[in-house]
């Protein structure tokens, strides 16, 4: 799976939780999930669960804590799949 494909999948997973749809539409790797997309911080737990299911990976709590931007999530997924 290419980085672009992973990126698009991550964006689709975040979409239902994002309260800033315009920011989501123009999102890039540097886009902050909490600040830019206005995802409720409690929902990061759900985003990580969905990522685990969608990519069939396991994410450790300490790794999940480091995810701030879409790019962080993409890199985490690519590393786990490598």
């Amino acid at each position: 799976m290419s980085e672009q494909q992973v990126f698009e999948k991550v964006v689709s997973i975040i979409k239902p939780f994002a309260k800033a749809p315009e920011a989501l539409a123009g999102a890039g790797m540097e886009t902050s999930i909490l600040k830019d997309l206005k995802v409720n911080s409690a929902r990061l737990v759900d985003v990580v669960l969905e990522i685990e299911d969608a990519f069939e990976i396991e994410v450790k709590d300490e790794d999940a804590d480091k995810v701030k931007t879409i790019g962080d999530a993409v890199k985490l997924i690519l590393a786990a799949k490598a």
Binding site: P16, F17, A18, R43, D46, L49
Partner: protein, 425 residues
């Protein structure tokens, strides 16, 4: 502080036989039942296989709630949110912007009987027991906490006054109206949303089926299953939904030029203490009569001024006792008892939502000048024969309808009664 007058300026209802005031009015007038066969209950060998469930909610909820909000909501919360938003909108208030100050003058008492037990049963317990706590996600607490319904509504509407969930079984919605009424009357809030919600779920309804208090005789004829005051009543039919009223100080309503449906003249709640014939499941008749008298006394009216009783009337053995309690409490004769009706004949018993939905029905009838008939009591219970002329079996246009008494009686031997009067300057 002087006690203030409290009026109803908004109504919201999501009932098994209609969503919104126009659809609900039509269903009430037409005697349209919202009770349907529920295949899942048959598959699970419930004795009662019919129930009242609001229809088309999947389509409706998308117009009220975002995906992110819905992600963390069970039916109890969705129903409460739809009815509360409708009551807010109906009252003519603008929505509080997401980045604005909360509305410090408006709060909510939105009750539920059984709350998020469906979420507990379907998700929390199985995953926890399987050692998969990490798979529960972030939404479990907000869905199973008793105040999940009122908390969600607070966020949707930006409420800044007291926001709470009460729970008193089948009296929940009516108790919420009384509690909110007292808060506005005392001047602690200008406006309070008040009412109740209850989800539909096999897990919510199973315990009642096990008690054999649900009607098992009409699975093949759902519309005939809820039979309050009938000789062939054989238990209640479980229902779900939500009913919410906007209660407001008269000063506030006048200041903003709000449309006023009715004044809430008085209300009372009490408990029979499981004494004098009362128990966990049966009402103490003395407490029922004291509750009705308390509401009438606070309203400052004579019992003969009541035009219509919207009873608790669930279709159990207790219906004739209830009617007799109304007569005794009001010190009237069977011939002079106000007209009496059961909204549950059309929608079943919506448990924690019942009082909310039935208060909406009461105020709606005052506002629109009609009184709906109770269906399925053509064969009036023999103990009610002397009340035959007072049991409303056909819908009537009643432009002169002025005063409605609404009561609920719940498990735990708890009672609530409110008196609404049609608004006129």
């Amino acid at each position: 502080m002087a006690e203030r007058r409290v009026v109803v300026t908004g109504l919201g209802v999501l009932a098994p036989n209609g969503h919104g005031l126009d659809a609900f009015e039509h269903a009430l007038r037409a005697g349209q039942s919202g009770i349907r066969f529920v295949p899942e209950l048959a598959e699970l060998k419930f004795g009662c296989q019919v129930g009242g469930i609001p229809q088309g909610v999947e389509e409706i909820q998308g117009r009220y709630l975002s995906d992110e909000e819905l992600y963390a909501m069970n039916p109890n919360m969705v129903y409460a949110a739809i009815a509360a938003i409708d009551a807010w909108t109906d009252s003519g208030l603008p929505r509080v912007a997401a980045d604005a100050e909360p509305d410090w003058n408006t709060g909510a008492v939105l009750g539920t009987g059984i709350g998020g037990i469906d979420t507990i049963a379907e998700k929390l317990a199985p995953k926890t027991d399987a050692g998969k706590v990490a798979r529960l996600g972030s939404t479990m607490v907000e869905q199973i906490m008793s105040s999940g319904n009122s908390a969600r509504v607070a966020g949707l509407l930006g409420l800044g006054n007291q926001v709470t969930t009460n729970s008193s079984a089948c009296n929940t919605g009516t108790e919420a109206v009384v509690d909110a009424f007292l808060r506005v009357r005392e001047g602690r809030a200008e406006r309070m949303l008040a009412g109740g919600s209850e989800g539909h779920s096999k897990y919510i309804w199973a315990g009642f089926d096990a008690m054999k208090v649900l009607n098992r005789t009409k699975n093949d004829a759902p519309a005939e299953a809820s039979r309050p005051m009938s000789a062939s009543a054989a238990g209640f039919i479980p229902g779900s939904g939500a009913g919410v009223l906007m209660l407001e100080s008269l000063e506030s309503a006048r200041a903003r030029g709000a449309r006023i449906y009715a004044e809430l003249l008085g209300g009372h709640v009490n408990c029979g203490g499981h004494r004098l014939g009362g128990s966990m499941t049966a009402p103490n008749p003395v407490s029922v009569q004291r509750c009705i008298r308390g509401a009438v006394a606070m309203a400052g009216i004579r019992p003969s001024e009541i035009d219509l009783i919207n009873g608790h009337l669930t279709a159990t053995f207790a219906d004739p006792h209830e009617v007799e309690n109304w007569r005794a409490a009001l010190e009237l004769t069977p011939e002079t008892l106000p007209l009496i009706q059961s909204t549950k004949s059309l929608i079943g018993h919506a448990l924690g939502a019942a009082g909310g939905i039935e208060c909406v029905a009461s105020v709606l009838q005052l506002g629109r000048g009609f009184a709906h008939g109770s269906i399925n009591c053509e064969d009036l219970h023999p103990e009610l024969a002397k009340y035959a002329a007072r049991v409303l079996r056909e819908t009537r246009d009643l432009p002169e309808l002025r005063t409605v008494a609404k009561a609920s009686f719940g498990f735990g031997d708890v009672n609530g009664c409110v008196i609404f009067r049609k608004w006129s300057e």
